[in-house]
Amino acid sequence: MTNSVQLTDVKKAFNGHEVIKGVSLEVKKGELVVFVGPSGCGKSTLLRLIAGLDTPTSGEIHISGKDVTYAHPSKRGVAMVFQSYALYPHMTVADNIAFALKIQGLPRAEIEAKVAEVAEILQLTALLRRRPKALSGGQRQRVAIGRAIVRQPDVFLFDEPLSNLDASLRGQMRVEIARLHARLGATSVYVTHDQVEAMTLADKIVVLNGGHIEQVGSPMELYRRPANLFVARFIGSPNMNVLTAKLKGATADRVMLETPQGEITIPRTGVRAEAGAEVRLGLRPENLHIVSDGQAAVLRGGVLRGHVVLVERLGGETFAYVALLGFDQEPVIIKLSGEADLHTHQEVALAMDADRAHLFDVAGLALGQAVGGDHV
């Protein structure tokens, strides 16, 4: 089965400045792929290249098997939902949705039927006669989506559709989009800078940085096995804690690290690095736990000591910032339950889930893999 979207070594430069530096990826039919990354990483540009609003400097774009690299946007089998919805203010909701069909020259009866159908799916039937300015943000967004659906494209393109909504609405709409995708099963490319949207909506995530792909994988893959430090820190909130350490030695299934607090052992295989090399140890906030001194004595190695500098209570959970003894860097964040009894300046001992630890070399690339199969 042909992939719905295929990018082959796509490059894009503006005025000599390269923004997309050779991207190749594929989107399978029915997949919802999310392009995510910090501002300026090129995700929107990439989306526009797929849409046809811009053409690549080099490389090829295929949609449903056809080469559309230089094709007109309306002839690519794509439909786009814009960040600002881009509704036509002088037309009713019904006309907005019907517009593309009118341009195609479909007979009126057919247009009306299709518009009614789409309005039904998105619960817009009551609003069909209204103008965009009489709609709420969420309603406008649904009209924008409706406008895309009615064209029955091969691929849906979403350009940060939730950024313009306030936080509470964002959550609601996210759920609606997820439901819609489940119902329609449409191939979608979704751009966002919000990794929560990425994690919750995506079948597959493409992490972009500075115009090239950092990693492609399912949300859990990216979470559990980030290919590099950038992905590790980008995915997951709060960010992963990264500690600097030195590689003391490695065996087939474990790695010994030299830290200011002594030696730490982590299960890890396939680590190819020299002894004495500087490495980065990654620990997610939920993989650090406070243990009593008694328990700490029992655990050999893998206990970090420090004192609490800040406690953030969110009700359902608590985040504590702990400055580690001897480590000359930012405090680590640990995640605790909402009832955690903690105060600043408190001395704590932290135990880690060593099997969930991550290791990166000084350049940021992941070293080795976790032992004993994937926890994905």
Binding site: A51, G52, L53, P73, S74, V78, A79, M80, F82, Q83, S84, A86, L87, Y88, P89, H90, F99, A100, I103, Q104, R147, R151
Partner: protein, 298 residues
């Protein structure tokens, strides 16, 4: 304790005495100035309209603009004009010039503005500079060659020289105004139209033009007003009286009716400005918005 507290409250007391009335004095002064000047400004117009209904003797004997002995003589005779054609002919002629001119101005301005606003035209910056230069160019320097050119075309004594140039977006001011409005539109809306299958012309006519309608109306109104007042152009191109617009007819009338029938002339003037007056009151908002967008947004 008590005394210091009362002292404190005294110093905090809001403007005591006459200062309290400052805002009111301010307002009164302003109103006073505005009413006085407003009255002086509008008086000539009132006098003109009022004079249309006076008899000739009264015009020159009383200042008041309300006729003591109203009469329709001035209006009736003024309408007939002392020429072979009635005012109706002249009004019709005026519209024969102004309406095509407005239509053609709007179309060409919108089209050219879209080119400037949304296309990567080679040398766009320089061409735009050229456009702005035409706004400031004194038209008097072009007068004679244009006349000779139209003479060569055989267009003398026709209406063509009066509106054909406008088909070519020669009014830089209007193009500039529309460009500003277009640039303020979100690009995404036009991109959505492109994705919906529109070519650039469809985007312009189906999406952009309707959305910037206020600007288009403003252009139409301004061009209408300016064209109604246009005198020099018809003066040099038209020689047949039957083709005269109101402006020329009016001038001709005061040459003809030398020392008599002022009320007729005032009546004719009143009728002449009536269309502009009506339109102005009906569409004030567009006038003000239009002229200010050109100045302030730029």
């Amino acid at each position: 304790m008590a005394s210091s507290m009362s002292q404190a409250s005294k110093s905090q007391a809001p403007e005591a005495g006459w200062r309290k009335h400052l805002p009111v004095i301010n307002a009164l002064l302003r109103y006073g100035v505005l009413i006085l000047i407003g009255f002086l400004m509008l008086y000539p117009l009132l006098w003109m309209i009022g004079g249309s209904f006076k008899n000739n003797h009264e015009i020159f004997s009383t200042i008041g603009f309300i006729p003591k002995e109203p009469t329709l003589d001035g209006v009736v005779n003024g309408w007939k004009t002392s020429t072979e054609y009635s005012f109706a002919t002249y009004l019709l002629n005026t519209f024969r010039i102004v309406i095509p001119k407005v239509i053609v101005t709007v179309i060409s301005s919108v089209v050219v503005a879209y080119g400037f606003a949304r296309f990567a035209i080679p040398g766009r910056k320089y061409l735009f500079a050229l456009l702005m230069a035409t706004v400031l160019l004194p038209k008097s320097v072009l007068l004679i060659p244009q006349y000779l050119m139209f003479r060569e075309f055989g267009w003398l004594d026709t209406y063509l020289p009066l509106y054909i140039p406008q088909a070519f977006a020669v009014e830089g001011f209007f193009v500039f105004m529309i460009i500003q409005f277009m640039r303020s539109l979100p690009l995404e809306m036009e991109e959505a139209a492109v994705m919906d299958g529109c070519n650039s012309f469809q985007v312009l006519t189906l999406i952009v033009a309707p959305v910037i309608l206020p600007a288009i109306i403003a252009v139409a109104l301004f061009q209408f007003m300016w064209s109604m007042n246009d005198f020099l152009q018809p003066l040099i191109y038209l020689s047949s009286v039957e083709k005269y617009p109101v402006a020329l007819a009016l001038k001709m009338s005061i040459d003809v009716t030398e020392a008599t029938s002022w009320n007729e002339i005032l009546a004719m003037s009143s009728i002449a400005i009536a269309p502009s007056l009506i339109l102005f009151f009906a569409a004030q908002k567009y006038f003000v918005d239009g002229i200010t967008s050109g100045a302030v947004k730029g």
